[in-house]
Amino acid sequence: MSDINELYKRSIFDHNRNPRNFHAMENASHSCDGYNPLCGDKVHIYVRLDGSDTVEDVSFTGSGCAIFKASASFMTSAIKGMTQVQARETVSKFLDMVTGSSDPEPEDKSMGKLSIFQGVREFPSRVKCATLAWHALTCALDKSTDGEKASSATPDSEARKDVVSTE
């Protein structure tokens, strides 16, 4: 049970049952779908950037496992209020953390509550669950605000290469 307790922290169950920012957004400036064809996890990410490129609001809808849902919930809570640049940095650090490509120091507190997902790396087949919402966020931010439709985030998209290679 030790590994499993590393993966399923109490707050993951909490966010799975009561996901934060779990709703559609009508006036989003950016949005994107994420889909994992392997397990059927689906997410739609909504972002509203204000005039100074700050994440004024972010939310998600979708269905999937506890790791996916908690990860999306934590993500939206974490990046709300960040500038776009900060949000992208957080995405990058989060992906590095859960894929194990970089080892944060035990004292490194910069990830804050997000560090509870560090245990995911011990379960390579679950990494894609933890990263789906994050890739969808990147996809949303990459889309220009003039309504141009970008492709959805899937494990095959360029952005997810690092994840696929860990399977």
């Binding site: 499993i4 399923y8 049952r17 059927g40 496992c65 506890a66």
Partner: protein, 419 residues
């Protein structure tokens, strides 16, 4: 919570299945510090020493090119290779070894039939009947063909228990039906389909039949002539033999009308730049050097299965299924997907509070290997309105204790997620 030990298992085993377990080295593995309970046999099966040793022996002492060597050593290898074709024919109840084609797997078997027989005999407006229990491998080759030819795909619906609606099948059969392709055993939920009835009705309607036997051949006695199918496909790695190999059985008359699929070396009679003629079946369908050592491994697997006895295997797996069904269905909030009267040793289920992937991870932490997902059968998942299930699939080498560990693991998952 009910005790798992209430069922009296003392009178169950008649063959010493505990000893059989020692014949599969992988089963002694540990994972995350726990003994491995391998319950993913519908995905792939583990190999007995008999298969591992025979392949090693062949590779170390007998390996040579088959069906093209002009020297004694290659002729001996060819004899061993072709002997397996005969064993497969007997194992499947085929009339002749010439009806046995080696492929790279069940997937390739279906693709071969769709791409050669189908492309020749299925045309605009013709109808192909599939079932709602098919693996994607028995859907997509037909869908591609139907799109190419303007043919129509019809689907036999499934009732809430996971059984085919045979009355509806009768209505779907028309004089435009060219092919009926159904699975023998549903990989996702375990239903054993009435393939004999299906093939008889299809034949009466003038349609050719293909049965996907990937999930059936390792678990029950197969007799293709009794089933009455025209084509039967299976995968070696699901029957304790190596991966990368499959078998296509084709009834002589139908196989002879089937044009080549892959072309290349060793499947010809005469080749010129203007025109070529092809070898008769089965070699017409075996272009290039075959998966030689894998075929030898399959031969050893069939000998092994024969030595245990398919009837013993079937009976033991039925006991494991009954015990698992009993224990799992007792757990509150579990919903077993697929409760067909005739069912192979597969339990697919969902939990009210936990997603199948979470359940699989909890089970994994206890050393229990199961599959979670759509099992390459999304139309079946759609039918039961679930995105995915957790699936435990048993082999005769599994134990009643492993079934109990599965039930305990599921309980643990329910408790964790109920919170």
């Amino acid at each position: 919570m009910a005790k798992v030990n209430e069922i009296d298992t003392r009178t169950w085993p008649q063959v010493d299945f505990a000893k059989i377990r020692d014949q599969f080295p992988v089963l002694a593995s540990t994972v995350r510090g726990k003994p491995l309970a391998y319950l993913d046999n519908a995905a792939t099966t583990q190999k007995p020493w008999a298969v591992i040793d025979r392949m090693r022996e062949f590779d170390s002492r007998e390996y040579a090119t088959v069906r093209r060597g002009a020297y004694r050593f290659a002729e001996q290898a060819t004899e061993e290779f072709e002997k397996v074709r005969g064993k497969v024919a007997l194992f499947l109840g085929a009339g002749s070894a010439k009806e046995i084609v080696f492929t790279s797997g069940a997937t390739m078997g279906v693709n071969l039939v769709a791409g050669s027989w189908g492309r020749k005999f299925i045309g605009q407006g013709d109808e192909i009947i599939l079932s709602n229990l098919e693996h994607h491998a028995n859907i997509l080759p037909w869908q591609m063909l139907a799109q190419e030819k303007g043919a129509v795909i019809k689907v036999i619906p499934v009732n809430d228990a996971g059984e085919l609606d045979m009355e509806e099948f009768d209505r779907l059969l028309t004089d435009r039906t060219r092919l009926v392709a159904v699975t023998h055993v549903a990989n996702s939920i375990g239903t054993i389909n009435p393939v004999r009835t299906i093939c008889a009705k299809a034949r009466a309607a003038g349609a050719v039949t293909l049965v996907d036997g990937a999930q059936a051949a390792p678990h029950m006695k197969i007799d293709v002539r009794q089933i009455g199918c025209d084509f039967y496909v299976l995968s070696a790695h699901k029957m304790y033999a190596p991966s990368g190999l499959g078998v296509l059985y084709g009834r002589k008359e139908v196989l002879e009308q089937t044009p080549p699929f892959l072309t290349g070396g060793d499947m010809i009679e005469r080749v010129t730049f203007e025109k070529s003629t092809f070898a008769p079946p089965p070699h017409r369908f075996e272009a290039g050097t075959p998966a030689t050592t894998q075929v030898i491994g399959l031969g050893a697997a069939i000998d092994y299965l024969d030595s245990v006895g398919m009837e013993h295997i079937e009976r033991q797996e039925k006991k494991l299924l009954d015990y698992a069904t009993e224990l799992v269905s007792r757990i509150e909030s579990v919903d077993i997907v697929g409760n067909a009267r005739d069912k192979a040793a597969i339990i697919s289920f969902t939990l009210a509070d936990a997603h199948p992937h979470d359940v699989a991870t909890i089970l994994d932490s206890e050393g229990i290997a199961v599959r979670a997902g759509h099992h390459c059968a999304q139309p079946t998942m759609d039918r039961f309105c679930v995105p995915a299930t957790t699936r435990a699939s048993f082999s005769f080498y599994n134990t009643f204790e492993e079934v109990e560990r599965l039930a305990e693991g599921i309980k643990q998952a329910t408790e964790l997620f109920r919170g």
